[in-house]
């Protein structure tokens, strides 16, 4: 995956020189290890800033919303599906985009590494299969497979679904993945246990809204959590307010979430917020045979009506 970078730079430079695009959206090295950050490259000589490794877990589709320029964008599987969703929701036009497709092999779980590493992380180096973390005089080595983000271990769309150029051959998609084991377990417990589970899960939430900000789906001019007239949801740390926020945030992603994991990655408290969006994703698949972002011609379940939509909960 590390070899991708030359190709990404080469394509980006070509696009910018020819004037095919006004800017390229990609990743540059972050100020902290494990945290590459998005960047907008406008001049061909700046393409050397672009990087690619296993710390590119942010979803770049988030930076496309309502842009008017012609844009080259680096897109792994999940980014590409969110780009499709953006096109469907008229947040960007396909004609404006030149998609640099990146066949993905999974991103590293920064929360896992931070939890496992005994000291402050100073440097992270990786090769094709391993990552080496150093800091405070300690060095630790993991195989990448051990420390992948959870959504990457169960990902079945690693290859971009739309692209104009590819930086490498497509990777083999993971087969026979059980995507919903954790969700089924929660579905199976009693209402009291569910209540306790979610109270506990969300108790450390500080309402910073990083999960919302990182998500390409959350582009409303005024988010329901920020509105004060009317105030849709309490702004306090009361468990019910927190739960309401999370319930609604997830529900707004129904039929739109690609399980890209950007929300979970962004959370400073390491809360597994995907437990909620994944339930919706599972239901959309089971009830509406729907997978997000696979086809620009198809409309999401909550935007369409069909006489055979499941409705057995209506009396």
């Amino acid at each position: 995956m590390l070899t991708y970078i030359d190709k990404i730079r080469q394509i980006a430079e070509g696009f910018l020189k020819e004037g095919t695009v006004d800017m390229v959206i990609g990743f540059r090295r972050g100020t902290l290890p494990l945290m590459n950050e998005p960047c907008l490259i406008k001049r061909p000589e700046d393409v050397k800033k672009l990087v690619w490794d296993s710390n590119c877990g942010i979803n770049l589709a988030n930076y496309l919303t309502n842009r008017k320029e012609k844009i080259g964008i680096v897109a792994k599987g999940c980014d590409s599906r969110n780009i499709v969703n953006h096109i469907i929701e008229n947040k960007i036009k396909r004609e404006q985009l030149f998609i640099i497709g990146v066949p993905c092999k999974g991103m590293i779980d920064r929360h896992a590494i931070e939890a496992l590493f005994p000291s402050e992380i100073e440097e992270v180096v990786e090769d094709e299969s391993r990552i080496v973390v150093t800091g405070g005089g300690v060095e630790q080595i993991w195989s990448k497979a051990e420390v992948l983000q959870e959504n990457c271990t169960i990902c079945i769309h690693r290859n971009p679904v739309v692209y104009d150029e590819l930086v490498a051959d497509l990777v083999v998609e993971q087969k026979d993945v059980d995507r919903y084991e954790d969700i089924r377990r929660i579905e199976g417990i009693s209402p009291e246990e569910k209540r306790d589970y979610f109270n506990d899960l969300l108790s450390s939430c500080i309402r910073c809204y990083a999960c919302r900000n990182a998500c390409p789906l959350c582009y409303c001019p005024t988010c329901f959590v920020d509105a004060s007239r009317p105030q849709w949801v309490g702004k306090s740390q009361d468990p019910t307010d927190i739960e309401t926020f999370h319930f609604l945030r997830a529900f707004h992603c129904a039929g739109r979430c690609t399980d890209c994991g950007a929300c979970e990655r962004a959370c400073p408290m390491g809360i597994k917020v995907r437990v909620l969006t994944k339930k919706l994703e599972k239901d959309c698949l089971e009830l509406f045979d729907w997978e997000t972002g696979m086809d620009v011609e198809k409309r999401a379940p909550l935007r369409t009506y069909s006489p055979d939509d499941p409705d057995d909960m209506i009396r």
Partner: protein, 69 residues
Amino acid sequence: MLFKNLIEYMGLEPGRLHFSWISSAESTKFVEVVNEVTSAIKALGPRKSMVKTPLTDIKDKATEHVDIH
């Protein structure tokens, strides 16, 4: 459907949230549904979570606290 599934997934007991489609001409159905909903909810009893502590209660507790010290 997605809404109901998600809220029950988060711990709302089945039987507390009801959906119905009743035309203005269906008075009998309206009565039936209202009776069904009320008895289902009575059977479940008062809800314990997803209920916000009213500010007045918090204030009472705070004053109690001050009194003790």
